[in-house]
Protein backbone atom coordinates (compact mmCIF):
# COMPACT_ATOMS: atom_id res chain seq x y z
CA UNK A 1 0.00 0.00 0.00
CA UNK A 2 2.85 2.38 0.79
CA UNK A 3 3.65 2.35 -2.91
CA UNK A 4 0.69 4.73 -3.29
CA UNK A 5 2.74 7.39 -1.51
CA UNK A 6 5.08 7.52 -4.51
CA UNK A 7 2.29 8.81 -6.74
CA UNK A 8 2.43 12.47 -5.56
CA UNK A 9 6.17 12.49 -6.26
CA UNK A 10 5.61 11.18 -9.77
CA UNK A 11 2.62 13.41 -10.47
CA UNK A 12 4.27 16.59 -9.21
CA UNK A 13 7.97 16.21 -9.96
CA UNK A 14 7.60 15.26 -13.62
CA UNK A 15 6.83 18.81 -14.73
CA UNK A 16 6.33 17.94 -18.45
CA UNK A 17 3.13 16.15 -17.34
CA UNK A 18 1.46 19.41 -16.48
CA UNK A 19 3.42 22.34 -17.88
CA UNK A 20 0.57 23.55 -20.12
CA UNK A 21 -2.08 26.27 -20.08
CA UNK A 22 -4.87 24.05 -21.44
CA UNK A 23 -7.26 22.48 -20.65
CA UNK A 24 -8.33 25.26 -18.35
CA UNK A 25 -10.87 24.71 -15.56
CA UNK A 26 -12.99 27.52 -14.05
CA UNK A 27 -10.57 30.00 -15.56
CA UNK A 28 -7.51 28.25 -14.04
CA UNK A 29 -4.87 27.22 -16.57
CA UNK A 30 -4.01 23.49 -16.40
CA UNK A 31 -0.67 24.11 -14.69
CA UNK A 32 -2.42 25.64 -11.69
CA UNK A 33 -5.51 23.50 -11.18
CA UNK A 34 -3.57 20.28 -11.74
CA UNK A 35 -1.18 21.09 -8.90
CA UNK A 36 -4.00 22.31 -6.68
CA UNK A 37 -5.89 19.04 -7.24
CA UNK A 38 -2.83 17.09 -6.13
CA UNK A 39 -3.07 18.62 -2.64
CA UNK A 40 -6.32 16.86 -1.58
CA UNK A 41 -5.29 13.84 -3.65
CA UNK A 42 -2.05 13.52 -1.67
CA UNK A 43 -4.05 13.79 1.52
CA UNK A 44 -6.44 11.07 0.31
CA UNK A 45 -3.60 8.72 -0.63
CA UNK A 46 -1.97 9.12 2.77
CA UNK A 47 -5.35 8.45 4.38
CA UNK A 48 -5.80 5.24 2.37
CA UNK A 49 -2.37 4.02 3.47
CA UNK A 50 -3.10 5.03 7.06
CA UNK A 51 -6.41 3.11 7.06
CA UNK A 52 -4.90 0.00 5.50
CA UNK A 53 -2.07 -0.08 8.06
CA UNK A 54 -4.48 0.50 10.91
CA UNK A 55 -6.70 -2.41 9.79
CA UNK A 56 -3.75 -4.73 9.43
CA UNK A 57 -2.91 -3.86 13.01
CA UNK A 58 0.57 -2.70 12.08
CA UNK A 59 2.39 -1.40 15.08
Amino acid sequence: MRILLLLPFIGLLLTPLYNAETPALFGFPFFYWYQLVWVPLTSLLIWIVYKSEKNKGDE
Binding site: L14, A24, E59
Partner: protein
Protein backbone atom coordinates in the same frame (compact mmCIF):
# COMPACT_ATOMS: atom_id res chain seq x y z
CA UNK B 1 1.85 56.92 3.52
CA UNK B 2 -0.85 57.91 5.99
CA UNK B 3 -1.65 55.93 9.09
CA UNK B 4 -4.78 53.86 8.62
CA UNK B 5 -6.35 54.34 12.07
CA UNK B 6 -9.20 51.85 11.75
CA UNK B 7 -6.93 49.13 10.43
CA UNK B 8 -4.36 49.96 13.10
CA UNK B 9 -6.95 49.70 15.89
CA UNK B 10 -8.13 46.29 14.68
CA UNK B 11 -4.51 45.20 14.41
CA UNK B 12 -3.71 46.34 17.94
CA UNK B 13 -6.84 44.66 19.33
CA UNK B 14 -5.85 41.24 17.96
CA UNK B 15 -2.25 41.72 18.92
CA UNK B 16 -3.32 42.47 22.50
CA UNK B 17 -5.59 39.40 22.47
CA UNK B 18 -2.77 37.02 21.56
CA UNK B 19 -0.48 38.69 24.08
CA UNK B 20 -2.95 37.87 26.85
CA UNK B 21 -3.27 34.34 25.49
CA UNK B 22 0.49 34.01 25.32
CA UNK B 23 0.94 34.80 28.99
CA UNK B 24 -2.10 32.75 30.04
CA UNK B 25 -0.75 29.76 28.11
CA UNK B 26 1.63 28.80 30.91
CA UNK B 27 -1.36 27.46 32.83
CA UNK B 28 -2.98 25.84 29.79
CA UNK B 29 -3.00 22.08 29.18
CA UNK B 30 -1.51 20.95 32.45
CA UNK B 31 1.15 23.64 32.49
CA UNK B 32 0.34 24.88 35.99
CA UNK B 33 0.11 21.46 37.62
CA UNK B 34 3.84 21.00 37.99
CA UNK B 35 4.16 24.24 39.91
CA UNK B 36 7.45 26.05 39.47
CA UNK B 37 9.40 22.84 38.86
CA UNK B 38 9.03 22.77 35.08
CA UNK B 39 11.70 20.86 33.17
CA UNK B 40 12.68 21.12 29.52
CA UNK B 41 9.98 18.67 28.43
CA UNK B 42 7.44 21.06 29.89
CA UNK B 43 8.87 24.34 28.62
CA UNK B 44 10.43 23.14 25.38
CA UNK B 45 7.84 20.55 24.30
CA UNK B 46 4.68 21.63 26.13
CA UNK B 47 4.74 18.43 28.22
CA UNK B 48 4.64 16.21 25.08
CA UNK B 49 0.89 15.87 25.25
CA UNK B 50 -0.57 17.74 22.28
CA UNK B 51 -3.22 15.66 20.51
CA UNK B 52 -4.02 15.61 16.81
CA UNK B 53 -5.84 18.94 16.65
CA UNK B 54 -3.50 21.02 18.77
CA UNK B 55 -0.58 19.58 16.80
CA UNK B 56 -2.39 20.43 13.57
CA UNK B 57 -2.82 24.06 14.57
CA UNK B 58 0.69 24.28 15.99
CA UNK B 59 2.44 22.70 13.00
CA UNK B 60 0.22 24.55 10.55
CA UNK B 61 1.00 27.84 12.26
CA UNK B 62 4.64 26.90 12.50
CA UNK B 63 5.40 25.60 8.99
CA UNK B 64 3.37 28.13 7.00
CA UNK B 65 5.08 31.23 8.30
CA UNK B 66 4.55 34.93 7.74
CA UNK B 67 7.56 34.61 5.57
CA UNK B 68 5.44 32.29 3.39
CA UNK B 69 2.47 34.61 3.19
CA UNK B 70 4.35 37.61 1.76
CA UNK B 71 7.15 36.15 -0.38
CA UNK B 72 5.21 33.37 -2.12
CA UNK B 73 2.70 35.78 -3.75
CA UNK B 74 5.60 38.19 -4.25
CA UNK B 75 7.45 35.47 -6.16
CA UNK B 76 4.36 34.79 -8.28
CA UNK B 77 4.04 38.50 -8.95
CA UNK B 78 7.67 38.80 -9.94
CA UNK B 79 8.57 35.43 -11.45
CA UNK B 80 5.23 33.94 -12.46
CA UNK B 81 4.73 30.17 -12.64
CA UNK B 82 8.14 29.48 -11.11
CA UNK B 83 6.96 30.94 -7.79
CA UNK B 84 4.32 28.21 -7.61
CA UNK B 85 6.96 25.59 -6.72
CA UNK B 86 5.91 26.16 -3.10
CA UNK B 87 2.74 24.18 -3.85
CA UNK B 88 4.20 20.86 -5.05
CA UNK B 89 6.75 21.28 -2.25
CA UNK B 90 3.94 21.59 0.29
CA UNK B 91 2.24 18.47 -1.11
CA UNK B 92 5.11 16.00 -1.31
CA UNK B 93 6.42 16.94 2.12
CA UNK B 94 3.54 15.00 3.68
CA UNK B 95 3.99 11.47 2.30
CA UNK B 96 7.54 11.88 3.57
CA UNK B 97 6.29 13.10 6.96
CA UNK B 98 3.90 10.14 7.18
CA UNK B 99 6.66 7.56 6.68
CA UNK B 100 9.53 9.15 8.58
CA UNK B 101 8.32 11.39 11.39
CA UNK B 102 6.29 8.80 13.39
CA UNK B 103 9.45 6.64 13.57
CA UNK B 104 11.46 9.58 14.87
CA UNK B 105 8.68 10.43 17.32
CA UNK B 106 8.78 6.87 18.68
CA UNK B 107 12.54 6.98 19.24
CA UNK B 108 12.26 10.38 20.89
CA UNK B 109 9.39 9.28 23.08
CA UNK B 110 11.12 6.12 24.25
CA UNK B 111 14.43 7.78 25.09
CA UNK B 112 13.22 11.24 26.14
CA UNK B 113 14.94 13.05 23.27
CA UNK B 114 14.10 16.73 22.91
CA UNK B 115 16.02 17.45 19.69
CA UNK B 116 17.09 15.66 16.52
CA UNK B 117 20.70 15.91 17.70
CA UNK B 118 19.67 13.99 20.86
CA UNK B 119 18.54 11.18 18.58
CA UNK B 120 21.74 11.34 16.58
CA UNK B 121 23.87 11.07 19.72
CA UNK B 122 21.70 8.30 21.11
CA UNK B 123 21.82 6.32 17.89
CA UNK B 124 25.41 6.79 16.73
CA UNK B 125 27.08 7.62 20.04
CA UNK B 126 29.19 10.33 18.46
CA UNK B 127 29.53 13.72 20.12
CA UNK B 128 31.03 15.04 16.88
CA UNK B 129 28.03 14.10 14.78
CA UNK B 130 25.66 15.35 17.48
CA UNK B 131 27.52 18.67 17.48
CA UNK B 132 27.39 18.89 13.68
CA UNK B 133 23.64 18.27 13.57
CA UNK B 134 22.87 20.68 16.42
CA UNK B 135 25.10 23.42 15.02
CA UNK B 136 23.50 23.11 11.58
CA UNK B 137 20.06 23.34 13.17
CA UNK B 138 20.85 26.47 15.19
CA UNK B 139 22.61 28.24 12.33
CA UNK B 140 19.85 27.43 9.83
CA UNK B 141 17.16 28.64 12.24
CA UNK B 142 18.63 32.02 13.16
CA UNK B 143 18.08 33.73 9.78
CA UNK B 144 14.67 32.09 9.53
CA UNK B 145 13.63 33.85 12.75
CA UNK B 146 14.98 37.11 11.39
CA UNK B 147 12.85 36.68 8.28
CA UNK B 148 9.70 36.32 10.38
CA UNK B 149 10.47 39.87 11.44
CA UNK B 150 10.69 40.90 7.83
CA UNK B 151 7.24 39.40 7.28
CA UNK B 152 5.95 41.45 10.20
CA UNK B 153 7.71 44.59 9.04
CA UNK B 154 5.84 44.40 5.73
CA UNK B 155 2.40 44.58 7.37
CA UNK B 156 3.46 47.20 9.92
CA UNK B 157 4.57 49.31 7.00
CA UNK B 158 1.27 48.51 5.25
CA UNK B 159 -0.55 50.04 8.22
CA UNK B 160 1.29 53.28 7.61
CA UNK B 161 3.60 53.04 10.64
CA UNK B 162 7.22 54.01 10.21
CA UNK B 163 10.33 53.46 12.25
CA UNK B 164 11.55 50.36 13.98
CA UNK B 165 9.91 50.84 17.36
CA UNK B 166 6.63 48.98 16.61
CA UNK B 167 8.55 45.95 15.36
CA UNK B 168 10.88 45.95 18.36
CA UNK B 169 7.94 46.30 20.76
CA UNK B 170 6.08 43.38 19.15
CA UNK B 171 9.15 41.22 19.39
CA UNK B 172 9.87 42.05 23.03
CA UNK B 173 6.31 41.04 23.92
CA UNK B 174 6.79 37.79 22.03
CA UNK B 175 10.09 37.12 23.76
CA UNK B 176 8.55 37.63 27.20
CA UNK B 177 5.63 35.27 26.86
CA UNK B 178 7.72 32.62 25.15
CA UNK B 179 10.08 32.90 28.10
CA UNK B 180 7.30 32.37 30.59
CA UNK B 181 5.04 29.85 28.81
CA UNK B 182 7.39 27.97 26.46
CA UNK B 183 5.87 25.96 23.62
CA UNK B 184 2.39 26.29 25.09
CA UNK B 185 2.33 29.97 24.06
CA UNK B 186 2.69 29.46 20.30
CA UNK B 187 0.43 26.38 20.49
CA UNK B 188 -2.38 28.44 21.99
CA UNK B 189 -1.79 31.47 19.79
CA UNK B 190 -1.70 29.22 16.72
CA UNK B 191 -5.45 28.60 17.17
CA UNK B 192 -6.17 32.31 16.79
CA UNK B 193 -3.62 32.85 14.06
CA UNK B 194 -4.71 29.93 11.92
CA UNK B 195 -8.41 30.73 12.21
CA UNK B 196 -7.69 34.33 11.22
CA UNK B 197 -5.57 33.25 8.26
CA UNK B 198 -8.28 30.83 7.10
CA UNK B 199 -10.90 33.60 7.28
CA UNK B 200 -8.69 36.07 5.43
CA UNK B 201 -7.78 33.65 2.68
CA UNK B 202 -11.30 32.30 2.19
CA UNK B 203 -12.69 35.84 1.98
CA UNK B 204 -9.92 36.88 -0.39
CA UNK B 205 -10.34 33.79 -2.54
CA UNK B 206 -14.06 34.41 -2.97
CA UNK B 207 -14.29 38.21 -2.96
CA UNK B 208 -11.18 39.31 -4.81
CA UNK B 209 -11.92 37.46 -8.06
CA UNK B 210 -15.58 38.55 -7.76
CA UNK B 211 -14.43 42.16 -7.67
CA UNK B 212 -11.96 41.61 -10.47
CA UNK B 213 -14.20 39.61 -12.82
CA UNK B 214 -13.45 35.98 -11.87
CA UNK B 215 -10.35 33.79 -11.97
CA UNK B 216 -10.38 33.85 -15.77
CA UNK B 217 -9.85 37.61 -15.61
CA UNK B 218 -7.17 37.24 -12.94
CA UNK B 219 -5.18 34.77 -15.03
CA UNK B 220 -5.60 36.72 -18.26
CA UNK B 221 -4.45 39.97 -16.59
CA UNK B 222 -1.39 38.15 -15.21
CA UNK B 223 -0.89 36.44 -18.57
CA UNK B 224 -0.85 39.77 -20.41
CA UNK B 225 1.67 41.20 -17.96
CA UNK B 226 3.98 38.22 -18.41
CA UNK B 227 3.53 38.14 -22.20
CA UNK B 228 4.73 41.73 -22.24
CA UNK B 229 7.90 40.51 -20.51
CA UNK B 230 8.30 37.69 -23.02
CA UNK B 231 7.10 35.00 -20.61
CA UNK B 232 3.95 32.90 -20.19
CA UNK B 233 1.89 31.53 -17.33
CA UNK B 234 3.73 28.21 -17.46
CA UNK B 235 7.37 27.24 -16.94
CA UNK B 236 9.99 27.90 -19.56
CA UNK B 237 11.73 24.67 -20.66
CA UNK B 238 14.85 25.69 -18.76
CA UNK B 239 12.85 26.27 -15.57
CA UNK B 240 11.37 22.78 -15.30
CA UNK B 241 14.31 21.02 -13.67
CA UNK B 242 14.95 23.86 -11.17
CA UNK B 243 11.24 23.85 -10.34
CA UNK B 244 11.07 20.12 -9.64
CA UNK B 245 14.37 19.92 -7.76
CA UNK B 246 13.55 22.94 -5.60
CA UNK B 247 10.19 21.40 -4.71
CA UNK B 248 11.76 18.02 -3.91
CA UNK B 249 14.77 19.36 -1.99
CA UNK B 250 12.68 21.81 0.02
CA UNK B 251 10.21 19.06 0.92
CA UNK B 252 13.02 16.85 2.25
CA UNK B 253 14.47 19.79 4.19
CA UNK B 254 11.21 20.95 5.77
CA UNK B 255 11.03 18.38 8.55
CA UNK B 256 14.76 18.59 9.30
CA UNK B 257 14.33 22.13 10.70
CA UNK B 258 14.33 22.38 14.49
CA UNK B 259 10.95 24.10 14.55
CA UNK B 260 9.36 21.19 12.66
CA UNK B 261 11.04 18.67 14.95
CA UNK B 262 9.83 20.55 18.01
CA UNK B 263 6.23 20.50 16.75
CA UNK B 264 6.44 16.77 16.01
CA UNK B 265 8.14 15.80 19.29
CA UNK B 266 5.49 17.73 21.26
CA UNK B 267 2.75 15.46 19.89
CA UNK B 268 1.12 13.00 22.27
CA UNK B 269 1.42 9.93 20.03
CA UNK B 270 2.83 8.62 16.77
CA UNK B 271 -0.76 8.33 15.61
CA UNK B 272 -1.26 12.08 16.09
CA UNK B 273 1.79 12.64 13.87
CA UNK B 274 0.38 10.31 11.19
CA UNK B 275 -3.01 11.97 11.25
CA UNK B 276 -1.29 15.31 10.84
CA UNK B 277 0.37 14.11 7.65
CA UNK B 278 -3.18 13.57 6.37
CA UNK B 279 -4.61 16.83 7.69
CA UNK B 280 -1.81 19.36 7.15
CA UNK B 281 -2.23 19.51 3.34
CA UNK B 282 -5.32 21.63 4.07
CA UNK B 283 -2.84 24.43 4.72
CA UNK B 284 -1.10 23.69 1.44
CA UNK B 285 -4.36 24.17 -0.42
CA UNK B 286 -4.65 27.54 1.27
CA UNK B 287 -1.06 28.30 0.31
CA UNK B 288 -1.95 27.71 -3.34
CA UNK B 289 -4.54 30.45 -3.19
CA UNK B 290 -2.28 32.75 -1.20
CA UNK B 291 0.24 32.33 -4.01
CA UNK B 292 -2.38 33.34 -6.58
CA UNK B 293 -2.77 36.69 -4.80
CA UNK B 294 0.36 37.60 -6.71
CA UNK B 295 -1.69 37.29 -9.90
CA UNK B 296 -4.75 39.00 -8.41
CA UNK B 297 -2.52 42.03 -7.95
CA UNK B 298 -2.17 42.29 -11.74
CA UNK B 299 -5.93 42.22 -12.22
CA UNK B 300 -6.33 44.87 -9.49
CA UNK B 301 -3.65 47.06 -11.14
CA UNK B 302 -1.72 47.27 -7.87
CA UNK B 303 1.48 49.29 -8.04
CA UNK B 304 4.25 48.44 -5.59
CA UNK B 305 7.77 49.63 -4.90
CA UNK B 306 9.02 46.14 -4.06
CA UNK B 307 7.39 42.78 -4.82
CA UNK B 308 7.18 41.98 -1.11
CA UNK B 309 4.55 44.70 -0.63
CA UNK B 310 2.16 43.08 -3.09
CA UNK B 311 -0.16 41.43 -0.56
CA UNK B 312 -0.54 44.45 1.74
CA UNK B 313 -1.06 46.64 -1.32
CA UNK B 314 -3.73 44.28 -2.68
CA UNK B 315 -5.65 44.38 0.61
CA UNK B 316 -5.30 48.13 0.95
CA UNK B 317 -6.71 48.53 -2.57
CA UNK B 318 -9.64 46.14 -2.38
CA UNK B 319 -10.85 45.89 1.22
CA UNK B 320 -12.38 48.19 3.81
CA UNK B 321 -9.99 49.37 6.52
CA UNK B 322 -11.29 47.11 9.26
CA UNK B 323 -10.80 43.98 7.18
CA UNK B 324 -7.35 45.13 6.09
CA UNK B 325 -6.46 45.54 9.76
CA UNK B 326 -7.76 42.02 10.44
CA UNK B 327 -5.77 40.58 7.55
CA UNK B 328 -2.59 42.38 8.58
CA UNK B 329 -3.05 41.18 12.16
CA UNK B 330 -3.37 37.62 10.83
CA UNK B 331 -0.08 37.99 8.95
CA UNK B 332 1.64 39.75 11.86
CA UNK B 333 0.52 37.11 14.35
CA UNK B 334 1.47 34.60 11.70
CA UNK B 335 5.05 35.70 12.27
CA UNK B 336 4.86 35.28 16.04
CA UNK B 337 4.02 31.57 16.13
CA UNK B 338 6.93 30.34 13.99
CA UNK B 339 9.33 32.84 15.56
CA UNK B 340 8.42 31.47 18.99
CA UNK B 341 8.70 27.81 17.96
CA UNK B 342 11.96 28.45 16.10
CA UNK B 343 13.54 30.17 19.07
CA UNK B 344 12.38 27.31 21.33
CA UNK B 345 13.79 24.76 18.88
CA UNK B 346 17.13 26.56 18.77
CA UNK B 347 17.15 26.94 22.56
CA UNK B 348 16.45 23.22 23.01
CA UNK B 349 19.38 22.36 20.73
CA UNK B 350 21.71 24.74 22.55
CA UNK B 351 20.75 23.40 25.94
CA UNK B 352 20.73 19.69 25.17
CA UNK B 353 23.56 19.47 22.69
CA UNK B 354 25.97 22.29 23.64
CA UNK B 355 25.34 23.24 27.27
CA UNK B 356 24.79 19.77 28.69
CA UNK B 357 27.74 17.97 27.07
CA UNK B 358 30.30 20.80 27.22
CA UNK B 359 29.42 23.27 29.96
CA UNK B 360 27.53 21.54 32.73
CA UNK B 361 27.18 17.78 32.40
CA UNK B 362 25.31 17.57 35.70
CA UNK B 363 22.59 20.04 34.76
CA UNK B 364 19.22 19.08 36.26
CA UNK B 365 16.05 18.91 34.13
CA UNK B 366 14.95 22.18 35.79
CA UNK B 367 18.35 23.70 35.11
CA UNK B 368 17.96 22.75 31.45
CA UNK B 369 14.69 24.63 31.25
CA UNK B 370 16.33 27.72 32.82
CA UNK B 371 19.16 27.69 30.29
CA UNK B 372 16.78 27.17 27.38
CA UNK B 373 14.57 30.07 28.48
CA UNK B 374 17.52 32.43 28.59
CA UNK B 375 18.79 31.22 25.24
CA UNK B 376 15.38 31.72 23.63
CA UNK B 377 15.58 35.37 24.73
CA UNK B 378 19.10 35.78 23.37
CA UNK B 379 18.15 34.17 20.07
CA UNK B 380 15.31 36.63 19.58
CA UNK B 381 17.38 39.65 20.53
CA UNK B 382 19.98 38.45 18.05
CA UNK B 383 17.39 38.12 15.30
CA UNK B 384 16.01 41.58 16.05
CA UNK B 385 19.48 43.12 15.99
CA UNK B 386 20.17 41.33 12.72
CA UNK B 387 17.13 42.93 11.10
CA UNK B 388 17.64 46.38 12.61
CA UNK B 389 21.35 46.72 11.93
CA UNK B 390 22.13 44.53 8.94
CA UNK B 391 20.71 44.70 5.43
CA UNK B 392 17.70 42.41 4.89
CA UNK B 393 19.54 40.76 2.03
CA UNK B 394 21.96 39.32 4.57
CA UNK B 395 19.16 37.43 6.34
CA UNK B 396 17.66 36.36 3.01
CA UNK B 397 20.97 34.97 1.77
CA UNK B 398 21.64 33.24 5.07
CA UNK B 399 18.18 31.68 5.04
CA UNK B 400 18.79 30.34 1.57
CA UNK B 401 22.12 28.88 2.67
CA UNK B 402 20.39 27.58 5.80
CA UNK B 403 18.06 25.53 3.61
CA UNK B 404 21.05 23.99 1.83
CA UNK B 405 22.75 23.30 5.17
CA UNK B 406 19.80 21.79 7.00
CA UNK B 407 19.30 19.35 4.13
CA UNK B 408 22.78 17.99 4.87
CA UNK B 409 21.53 16.67 8.22
CA UNK B 410 19.06 14.45 6.37
CA UNK B 411 21.20 11.30 6.07
CA UNK B 412 22.24 11.33 9.75
CA UNK B 413 18.67 11.76 10.97
CA UNK B 414 16.66 9.74 8.46
CA UNK B 415 18.99 6.84 7.61
CA UNK B 416 19.42 6.15 11.31
CA UNK B 417 15.71 5.41 11.58
CA UNK B 418 15.91 2.59 9.07
CA UNK B 419 19.07 0.76 10.06
CA UNK B 420 22.53 0.74 11.56
CA UNK B 421 24.67 0.40 8.44
CA UNK B 422 25.88 4.01 8.29
CA UNK B 423 28.10 5.07 11.17
CA UNK B 424 29.12 8.45 12.51
CA UNK B 425 32.51 8.94 10.75
CA UNK B 426 31.01 8.30 7.30
CA UNK B 427 27.97 10.49 7.97
CA UNK B 428 30.15 13.26 9.35
CA UNK B 429 32.30 13.21 6.22
CA UNK B 430 29.17 13.27 4.06
CA UNK B 431 27.73 16.17 6.05
CA UNK B 432 30.96 18.17 5.76
CA UNK B 433 31.33 17.61 2.02
CA UNK B 434 27.67 18.48 1.38
CA UNK B 435 28.04 21.63 3.45
CA UNK B 436 31.20 22.84 1.74
CA UNK B 437 30.05 21.95 -1.77
CA UNK B 438 26.56 23.41 -1.23
CA UNK B 439 27.84 26.70 0.20
CA UNK B 440 30.42 26.99 -2.55
CA UNK B 441 27.89 26.39 -5.35
CA UNK B 442 25.34 28.75 -3.79
CA UNK B 443 27.86 31.54 -3.27
CA UNK B 444 29.53 31.01 -6.65
CA UNK B 445 26.41 32.32 -8.38
CA UNK B 446 25.88 35.28 -6.05
CA UNK B 447 23.76 33.35 -3.53
CA UNK B 448 21.32 31.65 -5.86
CA UNK B 449 19.38 28.50 -4.93
CA UNK B 450 20.09 26.72 -8.21
CA UNK B 451 23.28 25.98 -10.13
CA UNK B 452 23.85 24.81 -13.69
CA UNK B 453 26.01 21.72 -14.19
CA UNK B 454 27.42 20.88 -17.59
CA UNK B 455 27.17 17.16 -18.21
CA UNK B 456 28.12 15.94 -21.66
CA UNK B 457 27.73 19.40 -23.15
CA UNK B 458 24.19 19.79 -21.79
CA UNK B 459 23.39 22.18 -18.97
CA UNK B 460 21.33 20.86 -16.06
CA UNK B 461 20.11 23.43 -13.57
CA UNK B 462 19.17 21.93 -10.23
CA UNK B 463 18.62 22.99 -6.63
CA UNK B 464 21.99 23.29 -4.90
CA UNK B 465 20.72 21.74 -1.66
CA UNK B 466 19.71 18.61 -3.53
CA UNK B 467 23.00 18.39 -5.44
CA UNK B 468 24.89 18.77 -2.16
CA UNK B 469 22.69 16.09 -0.56
CA UNK B 470 23.52 13.71 -3.41
CA UNK B 471 27.24 14.29 -2.87
CA UNK B 472 26.73 13.94 0.89
CA UNK B 473 25.11 10.51 0.46
CA UNK B 474 27.72 9.32 -2.04
CA UNK B 475 30.59 10.37 0.24
CA UNK B 476 28.97 8.79 3.30
CA UNK B 477 28.33 5.54 1.41
CA UNK B 478 31.85 5.31 -0.03
CA UNK B 479 33.52 6.04 3.30
CA UNK B 480 31.27 3.55 5.07
CA UNK B 481 32.23 0.90 2.50
CA UNK B 482 35.92 1.70 2.96
CA UNK B 483 35.81 1.81 6.76
CA UNK B 484 33.52 -1.19 6.97
CA UNK B 485 33.55 -2.66 10.44
CA UNK B 486 36.22 -0.29 11.65
CA UNK B 487 33.51 2.30 12.19
CA UNK B 488 31.61 -0.17 14.36
CA UNK B 489 33.33 0.90 17.56
CA UNK B 490 30.96 3.81 17.85
CA UNK B 491 28.01 1.50 18.55
CA UNK B 492 29.51 0.19 21.76
CA UNK B 493 30.32 3.71 22.85
CA UNK B 494 26.73 4.62 22.00
CA UNK B 495 25.50 1.94 24.36
CA UNK B 496 27.91 3.08 27.03
CA UNK B 497 26.76 6.65 26.57
CA UNK B 498 23.12 5.64 26.75
CA UNK B 499 23.72 3.67 29.91
CA UNK B 500 25.55 6.56 31.55
Amino acid sequence: MEINWIALSVFIFFFALVTVLGFAASRWHGGGTKGGGGDLHEWGLGGRQFGTWITWFLLGGDLYTAYTVSPVPAAMFGAGAFGFFALPYASIAYPFMFIVMPLLWQRAHKAGYVTSADFVFGHYGSRWLEFAIALTGVVATMPYIALQLVGMEVVIKGLGLTGELPLAAAFVVLALYTYSAGLRAPALIAFVKDLMIYIVVIVAVVLVPAKLGGYGAVFSAAGEAFHAKGATLVLKPAQQLPYATLAFGSALALFMYPHSMTGVFAAKSADAVRKNAILLPAYSFLLGFIALMGYMAYAAHVKVATNNDVVPALFNTLFPSWFTGFAFAAIGIGALVPAAVMSIGAANLFTRNFWKPYVNTNVTPQGEAKVAKMVSLLVKVGALACILFLPTKFALDLQLLGGVWILQTFPSVVFGLFGRWYRAPALLAGWASGLVFGSWMALADGTKPVHTYLIGGEGYTIYTGLAALALNIVVATVIQLVLGQRGAGSTSSAKAANAA
